[in-house]
């Protein structure tokens, strides 16, 4: 029997056709080699985090066809007082008929060889185990926070089994099942909404409230966003460089999807958050529940009032526009979590593991998950909503 021809390669344009075949099989039946290559070139040219024009992408070729794949999203990571060029790992996929072998680890290992400064936010346990076997560190699960703005609607639609898979306790899932049909779940949701509004009123820090405004449609992130980042970069721990260039690249280009909320004090920009409108074709497991991710959030960590004002403005927009039933945020940073809690967000089980290669952490062995300033838009994880 002839031996299979196997190669593990870094993508270059010569592989555009076979990659397009793979993408068409897995994600987008309309994918073409020309569109794929154009997209890669455009991204490499305009992404401010793509410092060397590279978007490392690894293909596992079996007899000339792609059966395993991983790509990256360039990101400048602020770590230990310096800025490091890094890459979020993304799109890790092995065709089902080849998952019983070494394809996944070979793809991940080759990526590590060509781009050591990688990290990822990932749910599935198999990739986590592969990355850890290659020396990555799993810093833990990023807490999720949920704010119900139409609680009765969520209670009516949510799938109890989805809650159980997300780690909610068995008794809580059964309580929801029992409440269904009696409308007790809707009553409880109304009471919960009232309680969170009361709590938010009590817990929001006193003091001079910043002015907030919501920019939807056309918006730009100018020089004042760079000034804000320079002022805050030493105070937010580790995470993406959240300057004007990143805001423009990551969010402003998709103005139909992302809404910007600004907070100002004395006219000066004091913080911002970005909220995503729920997708038109969300995950069917959500049963029609519309969840708006808080895709980015930046405020002075020691000024919770600004964080709370941003979250409140985001919620008012979502409610007034009727665009979502709930908001979701994900962050491990202690002070960002405090702002969420004080804004009436409920902590729910986290499912995103932050997996980081030690080369990105430098000499710091004591790096903890809560040292990271992350948001739902990092690594594109807001795409699930």
């Amino acid at each position: 029997m002839a031996r299979n021809e196997v190669e593990v390669v870094e993508y270059e344009p010569a592989y555009a056709e076979v990659l397009a075949d793979f993408v068409a099989k897995v994600w987008d039946p309309q994918a073409t080699a020309a569109a794929l290559q154009r997209s890669r070139e455009a991204n490499a040219a305009s992404d401010p985090s793509c410092l060397d024009g590279r978007i490392p992408t690894i293909l596992f070729l079996l007899n000339g066809a792609v059966v395993g794949y991983i790509t990256t999203l360039p990101e400048r990571i602020h770590v230990g007082g310096r800025v490091e060029p890094a890459y979020w790992m993304s799109g890790f996929h092995v065709l089902p008929e080849h998952r019983n072998g070494p394809v996944g680890v070979m793809v991940a290992r080759e990526l590590l060889r060509v781009a050591p400064s990688t990290l990822t936010l990932v749910v599935e346990p198999a990739p986590v185990r592969i990355f850890c076997a290659l020396g990555y560190r799993n810093l833990g699960r990023v807490p999720n926070y949920l704010k119900l703005v139409r609680g009765a609607e969520v209670a009516r639609r949510i799938d109890p089994d989805l809650l159980r898979r997300q780690g909610l306790g068995a008794w809580q899932v059964e309580a929801l099942r029992m409440a269904r049909g009696t409308r007790l779940d809707e009553v409880a949701a109304h009471l919960l909404g009232l309680a969170t509004r009361v709590w938010t009123g009590v817990a929001t820090p006193l003091g001079r409230r910043p002015q907030t405004s919501v920019l939807s449609g056309s918006w730009r992130a100018g020089e004042e966003y760079d000034r804000l980042w320079r002022a805050l970069s030493g105070r937010t721990g580790m995470g993406a460089v959240r300057d004007a260039g990143r805001l423009e690249w990551r969010f402003a280009r998709q103005r139909d999807r992302y809404v910007l909320v600004e907070a100002r004090q004395g006219g000066a920009l004091a913080g911002y958050c970005v909220v995503a409108r729920p997708k038109a074709d969300p995950d069917p497991r959500l049963a029609g529940i519309r969840i708006a991710p808080v895709s980015d959030l930046l405020f002075p960590p020691d000024e919770l009032g600004i964080g709370c004002a941003l979250l409140a403005a985001a919620e008012r927009f979502v409610v007034e526009q009727g665009i979502a039933d709930a908001l979701i945020a994900s962050t491990p940073h202690r002070l960002a979590r405090r702002a969420l809690a004080r804004s009436g967000y409920l902590r729910i089980p986290g499912n995103l593991n932050l997996v980081v290669h030690p080369s990105l952490l430098g000499r710091s062995d004591s790096v903890r998950l809560e040292d990271w300033w992350l948001a739902r838009g990092d690594n594109g994880v807001d795409e699930s909503f």
Binding site: N100, G101, P102, I130
Partner: protein, 76 residues
């Protein structure tokens, strides 16, 4: 350096005596895709070799694992 059977047994958490040349992911409980991937990484560490992807795809049971490792100069 440990013989391949001992490396395999260590990774899978079984006794070397439970393995023979026909042992494979189809016959040994716990020998799943992640364990198989871990095995390849362990072989590379144990024997200071770098297993080419094509050779890794050929390693489907203990017999073929030993055959590939012999190609890399490992006596087994």
């Amino acid at each position: 350096m440990s013989p391949p059977e001992e490396v395999i047994a260590r990774v899978l958490g079984v006794s070397p005596q439970d393995l023979d040349d026909d042992s494979s992911p189809d016959t040994v409980e716990g020998w799943d895709s992640l364990a198989h991937s871990t095995l390849i990484l362990e072989f590379e560490t144990e024997y200071d070799v770098s297993v080419a992807p094509g050779d890794a795809m050929e390693m489907v049971d203990v017999r073929s694992i030993k055959a590939v490792l012999r190609d890399y100069g490992v006596s087994c």
